[in-house]
Subunit: 368 residues, 4 copies
């Protein structure tokens, strides 16, 4: 139970380290009969690849996915789908120094305390490359959700001091801008900030947001398996995320009941809310409105300044990190947020199939 | 899997509705040999009881706990500990109107959409009374953690616009103030605000914080079962919480790597951090520093103003909520946050026992 | 994870000791909308009660069940159903001697080794009374299965040397005979054997069988969650069961492929098997035929002869068991087998709802 | 939750089909610091390979394992261990006919009913090749158990009518005989039987046994997670197993309490049993004695006689199976039984680390 399995019905198990032979994921519990090919997954992996841009690391990660099992004649069979990406561009030599000393803001020290030693090459299992498996599995979840009429979209809300203007929301921009912002002007300003930070051998944090549209009311469970609780876990489990908000998030603490309550009304025969402070979830269960989640991401801990730290033998020392590191994590984490949200929402939808006796009876009596 | 079970090794299952016969919890996996009596648990339940104060609801909830199993001759036996609290003060008559129409900000609508109908008395399973089981189980977790040298403390950071001044932190005040604030002056100001809100038939939100001290480094798992991810789930699963922060939380998005990285240094032969922006967790694993979590709580949705809503048959209607409702949720939720944190941290500590071969070998070879 | 939770979707958690205040079970994940009242459950509990007969213990166990939560206006709400039975007839005085020494064939020694001590009153958690919770939960599972057209029936196949003649199978006899045999003649012979054994201060073992009818093909999962694997666990988890067979069971080891293979043929437009050596399960998945499971139960370990044993302080000693003990376990275990089978089969049926994309799409697209 | 994950702390997830690109397993929760190399695993995989013998299939399966993650500098890191075996010798052409019709005794029909279609090449996921992942993971479990002083050994008890004589038990013979019997004479007789069966275009069943030695008392949990219950599931989940016995197994049904009870006595300061009818488990918890499990395996369903069956479109038809099939399953299943037993026992031992407060306190207080 080292924690690499996630989900109940749609259950994923990821594996692999930054500089190991390969990374991958096994998806167990994917419904049978979904059309699936490698291109469906590659599309998502390509979104987490570092670009050739000014702001991203110049590493060339091919990240070509291979479907090893669970798909036959172009459709999922209901048995485990094993997806693998071979590591190809590791340059282990760059990471020599971190074998013996603890990088501030990284998991080097905590891994050593837990396990007694660690795979220090490129962060090993705590590297951002660990998300390759999440994204590969998330691509499958997204494809299923699409067939169910549920659409998930994540983007960058802010980088450092620069916020996207949501009034100018442009979905096309998300895929086209370097920052994954839905606002080209903010993107340009953020890129300037990032170049400045890089020149100062520093890094920036940011905020990303994910919206789920088309989710029917009634998804999620009361008490511990609330949809928002599971989303909070899913998103907080992405490295570098330090805060998660649902709907109005932190702002509710300064709101009043009369402002924060979303009134219900009828619209074309359906119950809707006049506002959506709740972010689409009431009592842990979706209310049919847009689900809205935000995550706050810390600045890249690998900076090119001299840092004070200690080494494995308990001596204070100075550390100078070399290698290739993005000055901001957010743009590449956006697709990871989208994927973790998709897996969480899909799992809740599959669990929900057994919520009512009448539906269970209809399923089995119809089969006859 | 309706979501009323939480934890892996120390696993709790809560049950009960606001106006049912009783509420309770079954704790499975509690280590054998812990001294435990009802008074240990009652102490925590008393902290979530509404007071006789001006700001709290005038309901009289006795909430007397009964240990039904799992304790023999004053010690836990290793088998399930069943704890029950009988409901005694329900006045179902007060809740007649909400049987047919959906209260804004509540789970009435979403329960109906999920299950087809609901126990509408006092919110049923989505009532704040559901936390009785969490608190009873958390009391046991806290007692175990104490024996392991881990101490957990939660308190109110803010109510509406009033923030506690952490420079004046006074732990005694937490238990003595009406608001569970660690600052008597802020408490007085918050009470004034609450009285004002109540006069205006409105309610306030707030923020609560929980700190974990004495937690050794190495607790938590990489990837999905990160300690912070599990804390986020645990705390977000408390009704009305809309945001969770670890360490600096949202602020990291505007911080720079050079500010946010906590440098390591040696102190009395131990590795420590010079700052604690990380909130005691790096890469999902505790780093030996204080763990710090904040939760943002929405204003009580039950307000005494006329609200627009719809009823079960799809007609728009006006709702006037009656009954007894606190104008703020935070003060009574503080102990719930403490308990959910305790359960989560304890479970991670018990899982951690098998992290290393040398420890496993020592355990079994010593037994010989 | 002390092992008192069972099932994935329909998930039960039992608690309670032989001589504690009460025993019970929490059912989480029961679909909403099932009509349920205490009488539905009491009927099953009454079947595990000791009779007033010559062969059963003269204890008077009332075992009156109380529904504490999860049912509103006569229907399940989808939230946890808490069921409790108060203990009323404990005579702890009878059990003084076993506090300090280990009864052969019982779990006294193993509990002490695991937990350091034990609740020795009446066997504590390892008593047959632990099955009260299983039976209460199983009654609910059976009621759901009935609505789905699945029928489960368990009975005694043999007691000591006396076997029921399956040619004379009489379902009424199961409930009416002292031995729960479906054959009145065999019942009479078995009762004679039991009286003889009791006179000799000895006890007998036996065999019980359970059949599941009306189960559609396609239930169960490949690999680890095979339907037969889960049934084996469920049945072997009943105290005193030492062997489990599916279909032809042990006999397959001496069969040949040409005999053991069940040929397929068409009957009224449906695929059926000409024989059922497989016991209704192929590759871990139900094939639409009758599922048949047998369990072999050891003789009651509490016998009234002087036995050699050791005590807690490591001294050899002689033990004379007093109290009230049935000379055979099987007749009262039959309903437990029926209930564990029902819970297992129901859980597999609920899990199966998400097996195919087309069914998932139909469920959610129809909702619109 | 398609059922390809097994275990709680030491948790394995297998994937792969008979004729897919590869098969494999991910082990999550393996303690860090175990020395591990591919040769440790290859040794076990070689035992499940078909030989060049007269009785086994002439297929050449190389089954070369590759460690893809979780091992660094020759030791496990505590993170997921991904093991893969590429498929190399598939001849899909042989399996054309079974695409459209249902082989008796196989899972073809039940897979189609569950999932709507299936990967028909060589049985797909229901093929015996699925056990490659189990054996690879089991090899790791065995290595850990060895370090803990626990030794597991499985062998063939009988094939068709030929039983090994346990008086002549010869451990070396297990690895050397074609049948994995611990008795060379019985092996010779069994081989003759198998040749006869093959000439008659038929197949034989058999029985295999597994013993666990050195397991300390106190392993396993009461109620549902009994050690014997989990072993029953683990072993019954191996394809073709139709019955599982613990200790005396079925024979207990005809035993008397005075015979079946194992008396306790002292030996060299330790509590031991004078007999072991219980098979080393009392009340679901190990008693320190040898654990003994037996499994009964059906005859290979793929026989070379004409069989009656139906096809996918619901027509009756005749089937003639071609290809390469062993006339008995047992000899190659022996190592699978050993591995599933090892995984189950190890997982119970790791869970047991948190059973007692004093041990938990010692672990964490010593760390300081």
């Amino acid at each position: 139970m080292a924690g690499s399995t996630y989900g109940n019905i749609f259950r994923i198990t990821t594996w692999g380290e930054s500089h190991g032979k390969a990374l991958g994921v096994v998806i167990d519990g994917c419904p049978a009969g979904l059309e699936l090919e490698e291109a469906d997954i590659q599309r998502y992996l390509d979104r987490r690849k570092p670009g050739v841009s000014r702001i991203a690391t110049p590493r060339k990660e091919e990240d070509t996915v291979e479907i090893l099992s669970g798909v036959f004649e172009g459709r999922t069979t209901g048995t485990p789908i094993s997806l693998m990406v071979r590591n190809t561009s590791q340059r282990s030599g760059d990471y020599g120094e971190i074998a013996s000393c603890y990088r501030p803001g990284h998991a080097d020290y905590t891994f050593d305390k837990k396990y007694g030693f660690r795979d220090y090459r490129g962060g090993g299992r705590s590297s951002g490359r660990e998300t390759v498996g999440r994204v590969a599995a998330g691509a499958v979840a997204c494809k299923i959700l699409e067939a169910l009429g549920v659409r998930i979209c994540a983007y960058t809300r802010s980088i450092g001091p620069v916020e996207a203007d949501m009034e100018k929301f442009d979905e096309m921009a998300i895929r086209e801008t370097l920052t994954a912002m839905p606002d080209c002007e903010a993107d340009a300003a953020a890129v300037t900030c990032l170049e400045q930070a890089r020149m100062e051998r520093d890094s920036l944090g940011g905020c990303m947001e994910c919206v789920v549209e088309g989710l029917p009311a009634g998804i999620g469970d009361p008490v511990f398996e609330k949809l928002d609780a599971n989303l909070a876990k899913a998103i907080m489990s992405i490295g570098a995320v330090k805060a998660v908000e649902i709907g109005d998030g932190c702002r509710v603490s300064r709101s009043r009941g009369s402002e924060n309550n979303d009134a219900f009304r009828m619209e074309e025969g359906r119950t809707v809310k006049t506002t959506n402070h709740a972010g689409g979830i009431l009592g842990g269960i979706s209310d049919g409105d847009t689900v809205r989640i935000r995550a706050y991401v810390k600045p890249t801990p690998s900076i090119f300044r001299t840092q004070q730290t200690v080494n494995r033998t308990g001596e204070e020392t100075e550390l100078n990190i070399r290698g290739r590191h993005d000055p901001v994590i957010v743009p590449r984490a956006v697709v990871v947020m989208e994927c973790m949200t998709a897996i969480t929402v899909l799992d809740a939808m599959l669990l929900n199939l057994s919520a009512r006796m009448d539906c269970v009876i209809k399923f089995y009596r119809k089969e006859e």
